[in-house]
């Protein structure tokens, strides 16, 4: 970690050092081919190998059946908020949403904006999104139920998913994908902006079950129709080729180190270091209900805003960046994604202990 900060940024976020080293050494001349990956035609054999490898690894990590398509698209989760209702909600059905925070709110607003009969199946807004609703009520004729698996701003996370039988379950899993083992085959549509847990900004990974493609109405704009990208292997137009390359290396890093079991154990240990510190004192208070708190974004407050500012400033001075809470809620937030080394969490826990001693 020599010369590197402890990067607690909520995204774009820390990447594995091994991946960065590999990207760096191949940046000017990829594996002796005489050019950078950034300079490769996306129609070249070398690039096809890179994207095929990334897709295969994504499928392996998700343990997806053959009935799913994996896509690498542009526009982030924000464009998925539009594509989802546009493609998967016929006019005679209602798209259902559970609102667990800022990003879930943006998703459901977009469904409303394009004229769909959005149904709010549940919300935790009554207590400032501090929890994940256990109860929900679907509409009469639901097209799907959408959830946000991890809420970066409020620090909550689904630890158990809604059971809704045959009704399609869709999720924005941007901020906790591959952080722990889940059954991806429960979902009809999964999407994840890469810039939190799986790569640099500029690519969103989508997995869609093939039966969903049959619902898509004809006549959608070309770029907004999932079938366009399925038919062309995510190369209808030039893909964000370098971001996909780096994402593939992150998948490889995960697999080479032991996959989802390994990362889950490591993530639980990392989060435990900080939550233990929060739980052991009244000086720090977590903002999420204990049962629903996130393995990825640890949100907490100090006794005063002045102390929070001091805490963030001193931590930055010690090489720990990105600890400021989201501007919409304030407080402190440690985003401790997959690639963040354990020792960064140890460093933060130690700092928290010392800071409390001196200011408590």
């Amino acid at each position: 970690m020599k010369g590197r900060i402890a990067n607690f940024s909520a995204g774009p976020a820390v990447l594995p050092e091994d991946v960065l080293r590999e990207v760096q050494s191949n940046l000017f001349n990829y594996k002796g081919r005489g050019l950078s990956v950034m300079e490769m035609s996306h129609r070249s054999k070398d690039y096809q190998t890179i994207i095929d490898d990334a897709m295969l690894r994504a499928r392996q990590l998700m343990e997806l059946g053959d009935d799913y398509e994996v896509l690498f698209l542009q526009g982030g989760a924000s464009l998925q908020f539009l594509m989802m209702p546009l493609n998967l909600c016929p006019d005679n059905k209602e798209p259902n949403y559970i609102n667990t925070g800022t990003w879930a709110t943006k998703a459901l607003k977009e469904a409303k904006k394009i004229g769909k009969k959005m149904h709010l199946a549940a919300s935790s807004e009554d207590r400032e999104f501090r929890y994940i609703p256990r109860e929900f009520k679907l509409s009469a004729n639901p097209a799907y139920l959408h959830i946000t698996t991890n809420n970066t701003i409020r620090g909550t996370q689904y630890h158990q998913f809604p059971e809704i039988g045959d009704i399609p379950l869709l999720c924005d899993i941007s901020s906790d994908i591959f952080s722990h083992r889940i059954d991806f085959n429960k979902f009809s549509l999964i999407y994840a902006g890469a810039q939190k847990n799986i790569g640099p900004a500029g690519v969103v990974m989508v997995a869609i079950r093939q039966d969903m493609l049959d619902r898509i109405p004809d006549g959608l704009p070309t770029m907004l129709d999932y079938r366009t990208h399925v038919d062309k292997g995510s190369m209808f137009n030039t893909p964000p080729s370098f971001a996909i390359y780096v994402m593939g290396l992150v998948f490889k890093w995960l697999q080479d180190n032991g996959g989802l079991d390994w990362i889950e154990e490591r993530n639980r240990a990392k989060a435990g270091l900080i939550y233990d510190m929060i739980d052991s004192t009244d000086f720090y208070s977590g903002t999420a209900d204990v049962a629903d708190r996130s393995l990825m974004n640890v949100t907490f407050r100090l006794p005063t805003e002045e102390l929070e500012a001091k805490f963030i400033a001193e931590a930055t001075g010690c090489g720990m960046n990105g600890l400021k809470g989201h501007r919409s809620v304030g407080g402190c937030r440690a985003s401790i994604y997959n690639s963040l080394p354990v020792k960064a969490c140890e460093q933060l826990a130690t700092f928290m202990r010392e800071f409390k001693k001196q200011n408590g």
Copy 2:
């Protein structure tokens, strides 16, 4: 150029060696900040400096007035094909297009697909898009006229733009932006996918004149409304941060070396080397009319397809890649974008002379 191929790829394409070296040396630890640009929060001061610098340089290179907004978006030119008619064509007007090839065709098709009364003002399809139409006829109530300034597949380029008074002129300038000096202030909307002349894939630069924003109907999907991105300085959602960083370095490279006058002279010299070879013999025949041929994509045929295959294979063996014509038209194509060194064109011209001697 040691260890590097001569990269004639049509895009993603060659980047300046100086830029790649700088990206490489800062990849692991950007200017001693302790993290990669890929790992920076887009809300951080360091990243804001990077994107501000790229925007400023873009404005300087285009010599844009204060009445323009510059945006860095995702989805490539293909998403612009949709956003353009959606935002800038009221229902009582017709979007006008000049069709000069594959990409122009895709643009006009998208306008039709979303129900606009697309008007074909001119087309060069009658002679396989080998030329740029001089004449055109606008519809009764034109919303705008759209042109494709350079046609990568057919090797044609606008050397003089249509004069249409107050009617907005829009252009896809993806493949020849900053290749030579033009008056950008003639256009009401300009867009360029970065992966040909100005950076890696994954970002499209848009410049829009502010009066165009007044035309945008309310109720558009959030991500497809230009005003969303104007209002948020291209950071409504996480931007393709690394691609923008590299693009900014390409702008700096251009400016540091002498700007558009320098690159135009260099591009004319580079293209001249290859066109002179084509013009000096019947062995090679250019596919574009001489008056309209492109400074960026030199398209040509050999006497037989067998000779073309041999030409491409032998050139590849000599370290010259990407010379195969687009799969839709065949033949040969040398894409000689800004970043391609002069000596790559010298090498190709010499190779063409030798190949003709041995096979002519």
